[in-house]
Subunit: 344 residues, 2 copies
């Protein structure tokens, strides 16, 4: 095959200067009081964001993140060729309804909480391959819509174990193109679905850790890179329980992840905020990456980072039918070029 | 932009000989007694397909369609670089669990019944752009899983109006690569989400017709083609109610669709089979296209066809919250080269 961009087994190498033109993160009130409060573009004062229902609020947050990212790049929605988006709600309604609002040709994707990097990886393909000039990728989640759908009506006040995670309320969007000084999207590694038999939906970290470890290993194998090649490797939302498991699995595979291995679910809330094992949800890796990490890269804090978004692909029906939780992780590598500094 | 493959506003032109290597369709008993019974690779004797639940049966049908397509191309799952799939079930579980089984790096997509051409369009991008050698796209639906999830428990025996459609039980898969004599994937036109205010989930045809008309118009505008350039233009599942509306909308836009404008939902069942307005579901356009249309192309019945898969992107929650049904349609153009005849 001439001009191949597939390296190794499942990694795309982007050689055509695919860059982050802008990104935006919008969050709920609790995230707005967390560790990254200075990094977000918009903090809504309550969980309704001026809408009638939580679902409409989630959609509004996604619409706002997309609009903000487009505005920040000095573009208009008409100049965006494609919109790739997904969320956690049944039938991806936050994404689909937001695509009705912005009227950008729409490609719906679903990978649970891995949707952030799934949508970004495909967006990078479209820009790199000449299938688009500008593509925006977006995801959202909302604590109340997720609780209501996946677990119990929130009014029940159901108790949870310490292994449970807290779904982040918010949305993130990232606009890719081929100009500017922003971080370059260098690689994307597509994950395989894995499950080691974990069936407890109150312990997603344990379920997802093997998927994260597998994708990170695949990324190293495909690219020839190793942990030392990155200033930071972050998983999507393994949180307190899952991150040490992923670290251990990678150690057993011969990779010492060292100090620069972190998790988005552990970066977003303060210690005082009661979030069990930490954050989760599509918006977790998205608001951390698009709100915080990419901006710090533009300030030259890091030169190379790898974001490994993890997703638990269960449904309430698969759980009720006794199935284990199938998980996946997709990784995207961002790089700042030497001597460049972007608009943070 | 050099080497652009985006033509007009939202159409990709594939110039690198992207071909259908093989395709497969697996269906339930009712589809196996329908008009296309000779076209399917596998007909299950009952709705359980040897599994314990309908959801597991749907997954099995998808797994079988994918395996059959890979086998028919003389390949093994290890030789397939990526698997793009989606379905109608909450959290895309048929697709995700089937990806666990086949262990091919997985990209989940969601576009309701438009998922067939959504997954195929992205698969074509990956092959055309050099991001993959072989990509398989697959979708599934199951009458009982869809009824149970979207409407009432089937045991209720709820009555339906004549505008309702019958969700097809089955799955389709299509394997793309760059060799052989199969149909070439020439164009894909990505749709925008549209809604003209239809709120009745028992009348998807009326809701989806404007989306189909819009994407067909966009396809003509982007490519410079007209209805006469195709031997057949088929919509996904507009059925009896929606197809005439799409025809009328296109007529008002200046396009006489003529005799070669048809709908997959009207091609699958006999008149005697009671399916209200006709077939629907992700599997509808997939089993018709992958089981019937592509094979007839290989027998030189048609040289050029355009498949316009339509999707209604509602959820039970969006419906309950009083929202109209957002719809989308994605179109893929297939062509047989002069003087070629494939293995049907």
């Amino acid at each position: 095959m001439t001009g191949t961009k597939l390296i190794g087994k499942s990694t795309w190498e982007f050689q055509n200067d695919v860059r982050v033109l802008s990104s935006a993160a919008t969050v709920g009130p609790m995230e707005g009081e967390g560790l990254l409060r200075e990094s977000f573009d918009k903090i809504y004062p309550d969980l309704y964001a001026g809408e009638e229902t939580w679902e409409k609020a989630e959609r509004k947050m996604l619409e706002d993140a997309v609009s903000l990212a487009i505005e920040k790049a000095g573009l208009t929605p008409e100049q965006i060729d494609f919109y790739l988006a997904g969320d956690l709600l049944n039938q991806n309604i936050s994404a689909s309804f937001s695509a009705k609002t912005n009227q950008i040709p729409f490609l719906g994707v679903y990978g649970a909480c891995s949707t952030s990097m799934l949508s970004l990886a495909l967006a990078a393909v479209l820009v790199d391959g000449g299938y688009a000039r500008h593509v925006i990728a977006g995801v959202s989640s909302h604590n109340c819509t997720a609780e209501k759908q996946y677990r119990y009506p929130t009014e029940y006040g159901g108790q949870k174990p310490e292994t449970a995670q807290w779904t982040v309320t918010g949305a993130g969007a990232c606009l890719l193109g081929r100009s500017g000084d922003g971080p370059v999207v260098r690689y994307a590694t597509v994950g395989k679905v894995t499950d080691l038999g974990v069936k407890n939906p109150m312990d997603m970290g344990s379920a997802m850790a093997p998927a994260a470890a597998q994708t990170i290993q695949a990324h190293f194998a495909d690219t020839g890179r190793s942990p030392e090649d990155y200033d930071l490797i972050v998983t999507g939302d393994l949180a307190k329980v899952g991150l040490p498991i992923a670290r251990e699995l990678l150690k057993n595979a011969g990779f010492e992840m060292g100090e620069h291995f972190a998790d988005c679910g552990l970066m977003i809330y303060t210690q005082k905020q009661e979030t069990f094992a930490g954050g989760s949800g599509c918006a977790c890796s998205a608001v951390v990456t698009y709100g915080h990490l990419l901006r710090e890269m533009m300030r030259n804090k890091w030169k190379r980072i790898l974001v490994v978004a993890t997703g638990a692909l269960l449904s309430t029906v698969s759980y009720q039918q006794g199935e284990a939780i199938p998980c996946i992780a997709h990784a995207v590598a961002f790089e700042m070029e030497e001597g460049k500094e972007g608009k943070a």
